[in-house]
Every structure is written in structure tokens, then in C-alpha cells.
């Protein structure tokens, strides 16, 4: 059986005069892929393209061998898709159970018993089994976020697109959600966009960094983190040689960037350090070369 995959070839998307994505080439396989980038980098646009919510202005998208520009094939993709958008509104008066049940119906779960069991399962997965009867409008932001995640998990879809799934979710639930997504990613393609680099570090094998609509980095998380080796150090003062410095809880300054130095107190770099380094203008290739040497 062929491995499920998504491919994008020279994909671009513009909104009027604004270019949101340009020349994106990607291949996605089962596993968790993290999407990082600053606000306005094109992450949400890319996810909407993958979720068939938006057609590309140029290039070709192929999801599980189907072309989303052909209506019948788009429906075929949607049958195998779970999508949690960045923002979702909920209809007035709906409980968590009723909303997820409604979406399950739209996902063609027509048998009530099977549908209800599935709704209970996904609500349980996101830790809302006790709040199924609660009106969504009375829920906290984090709970609403989990409702929108629950509907995306219906049917354990082969393709799961998540736009900032852990925003507003408490740390305990975030760890639980990581477990759920890691389990699902054994067979499914999971793409998640987030500003939480620790989620990407904990969950993703691969990370894509977008900047101004273009792919700035695409590779293993460990490789990106490795590019920051020797470029993160602690000091009593902000180091002018660093690209970024901030005061930590211990009162010392964490400095990131500049050239690899030997005369400072180095610390283990995090994915966030590597991301900041990448964003700070240090050429990726140069950093890689230095790490290699």
C-alpha cells in the first residue's frame, strides 16, 4: 500500500496585492510536522490550502493523490481530513456534544449510535467528557479550543491540519494533547502551526519555518536546534554581540546569536533559540557549516 502523502509544487497565494505564499514546494508524509513563523508569515494560508478551504493562486496541491481543485476529488479529500482553524465561532445555544455531533453528521456519520460513540470518544480525548452538556458559549477559551480540536479528531482522519491547537490550553492538557497527536501521527499526516516552540520540540519530527510566504527552513527539529549549538550563552549582562538577549528568572541574561564563541558559558540550545537565530538573520547555511566544522 502506498504511503499517504501531501505534495505542494510551486504553490503561491495572493490576496489582492498581498503575497501570502510564494513558490512553496513541500512533501508531507505520516508524522507530525510543525509549522513555525512570525505573524503574517503565511502559516494559516498554507494550512487553509492544505485543508481545501482556499485554492492556490498558482502551483499544484495534491492531497492523498487527489486534486482539491476538482470538486469531486475535493470532497474525497474532505472525507479524510480533520481541520482545526485558527479561529472558529460556535452557534448560539450549542453544547460541546451537540456541536461536535453536528460536525460528525456533516462528516457523514449518519448512524446515530456510532456517531454518538465517536463524539464521546473525541470529547474524552481532549478532556471534555464531563463538559459535553455544557453550552460552548459558557466555556473558557481553552475549553472552546479543545471543542474545536475534538471535531478535527473525528474519525481519526488520515490528514489532520491544526492551526495553533494549544493556544489557551493549560499545560496539563497540552501534554495530553501531545500524546494524542503523537499516537495519531503513527498513521496520519499531522501538520500543526504554533507559536509554542516547546510543542514543536516535544512532538514534531520535522519543522518548517515560514517567513514572508516562503519556506525558510525545512528539516528535522534536531538539525534546526543543532544549528544553535555554541551560539547560546549566559552572561550577567546583555551581550552586544548577540542577536537576541533576555533576562531569565535567575537574573542572568540568555544571549542568542552571533558567531560561535568559546570564551562564554554555553548552554544547551532550545528550538526557540534556533528559531530566533534563524529569524535573527543568521544565514542558515553559514550556521550549518559552523556546526559541522
Amino acid at each position: 500500500m502506498a504511503t499517504a502523502s501531501i505534495s505542494l509544487r510551486d504553490v503561491g497565494r495572493t490576496f489582492g496585492a498581498t503575497r501570502a505564499l510564494a513558490g512553496v514546494d513541500l512533501d508531507l508524509k505520516p508524522g507530525v510536522t510543525g509549522l513555525l513563523g512570525p505573524n503574517g508569515a503565511g502559516k494559516t494560508t498554507l494550512l487553509r490550502l492544505l485543508a481545501t478551504a482556499l485554492p492556490p493562486s498558482q502551483g499544484k496541491v495534491n492531497v492523498l493523490g487527489l486534486d482539491p481543485e476538482v470538486p469531486a476529488e475535493r470532497t474525497g479529500i474532505r472525507r479524510q481530513l480533520g481541520y482545526q482553524p485558527q479561529e472558529v465561532g460556535f452557534p448560539r445555544g450549542f453544547t460541546a456534544f451537540a456541536f461536535v455531533d453536528y460536525i460528525a453528521l456533516l462528516k457523514e456519520w449518519t448512524q446515530p449510535a456510532a456517531r454518538h460513540a465517536e463524539v464521546r470518544r473525541v470529547l474524552d480525548l481532549v478532556g471534555l467528557s464531563d463538559l459535553g452538556a455544557k453550552r460552548i458559549r459558557a466555556m473558557s477559551g481553552g475549553q472552546r479550543r479543545r471543542v474545536s480540536l475534538a471535531q478535527a479528531l473525528l474519525g481519526s482522519p488520515p490528514v489532520l491540519i491544526l492551526d495553533e491547537p494549544t493556544t489557551g490550553v493549560d499545560p496539563e492538557q497540552r501534554v495530553t494533547l501531545r500524546t494524542v497527536l503523537a499516537e495519531l501521527a503513527r498513521t496520519s499526516i499531522v501538520v500543526l502551526s504554533t507559536h509554542q516552540t516547546e510543542d514543536v520540540a516535544a512532538l514534531c519530527e520535522r519543522v518548517i519555518v515560514l517567513d514572508r510566504g516562503q519556506v525558510r527552513y525545512d528539516g528535522p527539529v534536531t538539525d534546526l536546534t543543532g544549528q544553535a549549538a555554541g551560539r547560546v550563552w549566559l552572561a550577567d549582562e546583555p551581550d552586544p554581540a548577540a542577536s537576541v538577549s533576555w533576562r531569565t528568572g535567575t537574573g542572568r541574561y540568555r544571549n542568542v546569536g552571533g558567531r560561535v564563541r568559546g570564551d562564554v558559558e554555553h548552554v544547551e540550545p532550545s528550538l526557540e533559540d534556533a528559531y530566533l537565530l534563524l529569524r535573527g538573520g543568521s544565514p542558515q547555511t553559514e550556521a550549518a557549516e559552523e556546526v559541522a566544522s
Binding site: 478551504a53 465561532g89 452557534p91 456510532a114 474524552d124 478535527a152
Partner: protein
């Protein structure tokens, strides 16, 4: 947290099996809608709990169904259609297309239609078609007048609400449209009183989803206005078809969109022909019994 992950294809039955299930779900939402419940309570009270046994004019109570089931039904289906708009980012990427969801919403209009049929039966029970209150219309024409005034608006109003909900963003649009239609019907009725013999005014009177065919005069007689109640029903049904097609057009693409546009053209021409026939048919001038 006790659930385990259940992988594999979901127990779905894709395609057409979804439509009846979705239509039933939307129908359940309609019958629980407070506006629709209020409309049903109003018509039930007006026709069952508080019937006026000594009514002297049919036009006093027969617009009740059009106002409640048609007007308030339109507001209810408008709300129903708009309610999922905020969830469109999720709803819009499910396998059920927007036209299919719209069709399920249109199907809920069968509930107010059924209520309209019951209201008609009750009205006929209260005011038999043999009653002199209908003026010089034949018994079959009397039935046509009542169907056009009680049953068809109960179907058309909710369909119009769905179409409006699909295309208009303004939250109070259904209420504004209700006021406009009410105002228009009142205006052309007043014009018909002052220009009873005018063919143009007859066309204007019938150029509405609801029209009066009789006027109880001060002298105690009943004036039956010109126009064919049968063709008027045809015109109303053509308007219903246009409302459905306009609603379905939203989100339709490819061949489906082309078909809907073609059907809209046919329905538009049919509506025009039926309006002209409604105005030219029936009595050629007002008659007093």
C-alpha cells in the same frame, strides 16, 4: 481520560444518506426555535383557542398564517441559516457541500407548510367555503384563495429566510424584509380600494407573495377583486422555486452552478408568465355579491 484512539476508517455511509439525517437535524433545530414556536403558538391561539364564530370578513383572520408561519417562519429559518456562519471555517471543509446543506435547510420549510395545511383545514372548518363571506368566487376559486393566502406563504416565507440567510450578512435582514413585504402588501391593497378597475393596480396587487382577493365593503357586501387565484398560486410557487434556487446558488460550483442558473432562468420566466396570467385571469372587473 479513559478513551483509546480508534484508528481506521470511520463507520460512515457517505453521499446521499447524509441528506435525510441532516434535514431531520435542521428540522429539529427549527421546531425548537423560539421565534418559530411563538409563530405556531400564535396561529394555534388565533385559529383554535380564540376563533371568532361570528366573523363577518375572511380577510380579518386569514393573513394570520401568512404573518406568523410565513413572516416569523422566515425570521426563524434566516436565524437557522445564519447560525452556522461563524463555524464556516469548520463546516466549510466537511464533505457535505454548501448547496447540500442549503437543501437540508430548505427541507425544514415542510414543517411550517404542514402547519399551514392544518391552519387551512381549521379555517375552512370555521368558515366553510359555502359561506357568503367569500363573495362571488366559485367554491374551487375560494379554495384557491385560501391556499394562496394560508398554505403557500407558510412554505414560501421560510424558503425566503434560507435564501436571505445565505446571501445577506445584516442580522436584522429578515425582519426588515418582513416589514417591507407587509408595507408593500398594505400599500397595494389600499391602491386596489381606490382604483378597483385599474389593470395596472391589479398587477401591482399581485406582484407580492401575498395578495387579498376580497374586500368587505361598508355596505355589507363582499367585493371580489379581479385576478385569478389559481394563477396566483402558480406565481407564488414560482417565487418559492426562485427562493430555493437562489439559496442553492451560494457555494455551488461547476456543473451544479450552471444547472442552478439555468433553472433560475426558467423559474423567472415562469414566474413572469404566471403573474401576467394571474392579473389577466379571473374576473375582468371587480364584482360585488
Amino acid at each position: 481520560m479513559t478513551s483509546t484512539l480508534a484508528f481506521g476508517p470511520p463507520a460512515t455511509s457517505p453521499g446521499r444518506a447524509t441528506f435525510p439525517a441532516l434535514a431531520i437535524r435542521e428540522t429539529r433545530r427549527l421546531v425548537l426555535n423560539p421565534v418559530f414556536l411563538a409563530a405556531v403558538a400564535f396561529i394555534a391561539f388565533a385559529l383554535w383557542a380564540g376563533p371568532d364564530a361570528g366573523q363577518t370578513e375572511i380577510d380579518t383572520s386569514n393573513p394570520y398564517a401568512a404573518i406568523s408561519l410565513g413572516g416569523f417562519g422566515m425570521m426563524a429559518t434566516y436565524w437557522l441559516t445564519r447560525s452556522m456562519r461563524a463555524s464556516e471555517p469548520v463546516v466549510g471543509v466537511t464533505p457535505v457541500t454548501q448547496p447540500a446543506r442549503t437543501a437540508a435547510l430548505c427541507a425544514v420549510a415542510l414543517v411550517p407548510f404542514a402547519c399551514g395545511c392544518l391552519a387551512l383545514l381549521r379555517f375552512v372548518q370555521l368558515t366553510p367555503v359555502s359561506s357568503p363571506l367569500y363573495g362571488p368566487f366559485s367554491p374551487s376559486a375560494r379554495v384557491a384563495v385560501l391556499v394562496g393566502q394560508i398554505v403557500v406563504p407558510a412554505l414560501g416565507g421560510p424558503l425566503l429566510g434560507v435564501a436571505l440567510g445565505r446571501w445577506v450578512r445584516f442580522p436584522g435582514a429578515a425582519f426588515v424584509l418582513f416589514l417591507l413585504i407587509y408595507g408593500w402588501v398594505s400599500l397595494v391593497t389600499i391602491l386596489s380600494m381606490s382604483h378597483a378597475n385599474s389593470a395596472l393596480v391589479a398587477v401591482l396587487r399581485l406582484f407580492a407573495p401575498f395578495a387579498f382577493f376580497t374586500l368587505h365593503s361598508d355596505a355589507g357586501g363582499v367585493t371580489a377583486w379581479r385576478g385569478s387565484p389559481w394563477f396566483f398560486i402558480g406565481w407564488q410557487l414560482a417565487l418559492c422555486a426562485i427562493a430555493v434556487l437562489v439559496a442553492l446558488l451560494r457555494g455551488a460550483e461547476g456543473r451544479t452552478r450552471s444547472r442552478i442558473i439555468r433553472a433560475l432562468g426558467v423559474a423567472g420566466v415562469a414566474a413572469l408568465i404566471l403573474l401576467v396570467l394571474a392579473a389577466l385571469g379571473g374576473f375582468t372587473h371587480p364584482l360585488t355579491a
